[in-house]
């Protein structure tokens, strides 16, 4: 008896320790993570729901919403296509430099968002590589939609690939090899064999990619030029309103982005819970 009690004492935390650690954890998450979220909605509704809705219905705000949706609509499918292509090449074949290629694909996650925008200014900006030529032909990339799309594509570049690569590595290549030996074309093999196996993992990657694409601030801020109603995405519009002391407007638009974050988290938790075996085990972000 005495021995058993001692054993439990050394393998489990003292009840007081449990309470203290739990309180610290709840405190950290509550005060540090949830309170800022609550702040967004509280400030948005500070002058009532009508004021918040008016602020979102304002033309510049609506233009920002439209631009954000448009940018995500271009950047996310392209990155998804890239992610599928890269993970197909990396997981279905063995070739020299494969590990290095995988590291390069992850590279954009290590680069500061501001640097991610800067690189495109150095190429397409007025004093950039192609600046003079672009100006001559009246093509605007920086301070216009193409620059915003490029910067967004850079920062969300690895999301789908890094979700699919570990998943497709786990799944191996026997099924694709069987399909190929039975005479299926590459496209048929992908559509009928691979896609059903990876669809939830693909969706998971697209979900995270989209959340980041719609919420990106630093990279887009460098290339946008902050032209109201024209090149301001939602996060940039939030910044402009906030710096203008229009707090209800800023937090009203911010609360739309916060809702997007909440929906993303709910869907993400659902996918992790329902399809745990069909998405990759490694979820480092």
């Amino acid at each position: 008896m005495n021995n058993a009690r001692n054993n439990r004492g050394a393998t489990q935390d003292h009840p007081l320790t449990r309470v203290a650690l739990s309180l610290i954890a709840i405190g950290v998450i509550g005060l540090f993570l949830v309170l800022p979220l609550a702040m967004v909605f509280s400030q948005a509704l500070a002058k009532g729901l009508a004021a918040a809705i008016d602020a979102i219905g304002e033309p510049d705000a609506l233009a920002a919403v439209r631009l954000t949706l448009l940018v995500a609509l271009i950047a996310v499918p392209l990155n998804a296509l890239f992610g599928i292509s890269a993970s197909w090449a990396i997981t279905k074949f063995d070739f020299w430099g494969k590990q290095f290629l995988t590291t390069l694909i992850d590279l954009p996650f290590s680069v500061s968002p501001v640097v991610s925008g800067l690189i495109y200014v150095l190429i397409f900006g007025l004093q950039g590589w192609f600046g003079p030529e672009l100006r001559e032909h009246g093509i605007k990339i920086i301070f216009a939609l193409p620059g915003i799309v490029l910067a967004t594509m850079f920062v969300t570049f690895p999301f789908v690939a890094r979700e699919l690569i570990p998943l497709m590595t786990d799944q191996g290549r026997e099924e694709e090899e069987a399909a190929a030996s039975l005479g299926a074309s590459g496209f048929q093999t992908f559509l009928r064999v691979t896609l059903p196996n990876i669809k939830w993992g693909l969706l998971y990657g697209i979900l995270l990619c989209n959340a980041r694409a719609m919420g990106e601030f630093g990279a887009v801020s460098v290339v946008s030029g902050h032209i109201r109603g024209l090149t301001n995405t939602m996060p940039l519009h939030v910044e402009v309103l906030y710096n203008d002391y229009q707090f209800v407007g800023a937090f009203a638009v911010a609360s739309l982005l916060a809702l997007l974050a909440i929906v993303t988290l709910v869907l993400k938790s659902f996918l992790e819970w329902r399809y745990a075996d069909e998405i990759a085990a490694t979820h480092r972000h």
Partner: protein
């Protein structure tokens, strides 16, 4: 004999019956080069237009040094805080059972999901002198918003999930048998934690903390609203890049960009090394 009939491509790759190698690798390399590699190369060659002296002149400028010191220093402090809090949160989420745990677990990802500008204005309003947390703290004589401390707060906010999410799977897999063995051999709970559990967690704790640090160094959106952005005091390096761009000082902006990119490379290499170490210790 076989080598005589295989195509040159087969020398650097093993043959496979699965189709689509050329197309998928070709598109991957094209897209990677166009979006990532060539633009990054444009950054790396830009600062040298005035030679190494020009680079050095910008890199050792008082304001640039102060901004880099703040970015790296505040990130180090934030990563340290995240190591402690992240360990506690991961421990509680893995080892204890209580109602609402699943919700708490999902909320850990909030800093990943919440756009940084939204986090930035929320933290700034929260810690402002009249804010929910700023007012009680100001009575204690602590000023957070518009000081370097505000930078630390924002960087801690965005870094926390990295430590928790790196530790959780390792902690869940950690066999309790080692703890039981320690207990049988007469160790106290504290000795068991200190000498058995923590050493096993160390590789992933260091990995998660390094990830939090790497993310914090380049962070922009969540910081600039709460920082106050006073030159050489609370001005972070990414903001200084933007300021230099607005003054059309492309070479100056690229110089700071290259320094930060070099730091990212070093951290990426360190992380690769750490992850191999963590994997070998599992």
């Amino acid at each position: 004999m076989t080598s005589a009939v295989t195509s040159p491509a087969a020398r650097w790759r093993n043959p496979s019956v699965v189709p689509g190698f050329g197309l998928s690798l070709g598109f991957t390399l094209f897209y990677l080069s166009a979006i990532v590699l060539i633009p990054l190369a444009a950054l790396v060659i830009r600062p040298w237009s005035a030679g190494f002296d020009g680079f050095w002149h910008v890199a050792t400028d008082h304001r640039v040094v102060a901004a880099l010191r703040l970015s790296f220093g505040a990130s180090a402090i934030a990563a340290g805080l995240n190591a402690v809090f992240g360990l506690v949160v991961a421990w509680v989420l893995v080892r204890y059972r209580f109602p609402g745990k699943a919700l708490l677990d999902a909320l850990v990802d909030l800093p990943f999901a919440l756009p940084t500008a939204v986090a930035g204005i929320a933290l700034s309003t929260l810690y402002a002198p009249q804010g929910w947390l700023g007012e009680p703290l100001s009575h204690l004589g602590i000023k957070v918003a518009y000081t370097p401390l505000g930078v630390v707060v924002a960087l801690t906010f965005i870094g926390l999930p990295f430590v928790v999410r790196t530790l959780q799977p390792v902690l869940a897999e950690l066999s309790q048998e080692a703890e039981e063995a320690a207990a049988t051999l007469g160790a106290t709970r504290f000795q068991t934690i200190w000498r058995v559990v923590l050493p096993a967690l160390l590789p992933s704790l260091v990995t998660g903390t390094t990830m939090a640090f790497a993310r914090a160094v380049g962070e922009y959106g969540s910081v600039i609203f709460i920082a106050g952005n006073l030159p050489a005091i609370s001005e972070i390096a990414p903001l200084l890049i933007i300021i230099k761009l607005e003054q059309f000082d492309y070479a100056g902006a690229a110089t700071i960009g290259v320094i930060m990119l070099a730091a990212s490379f070093v951290l990426l290499l360190a992380l690769n090394f750490l992850q191999n170490w963590a994997a070998s210790r599992r």
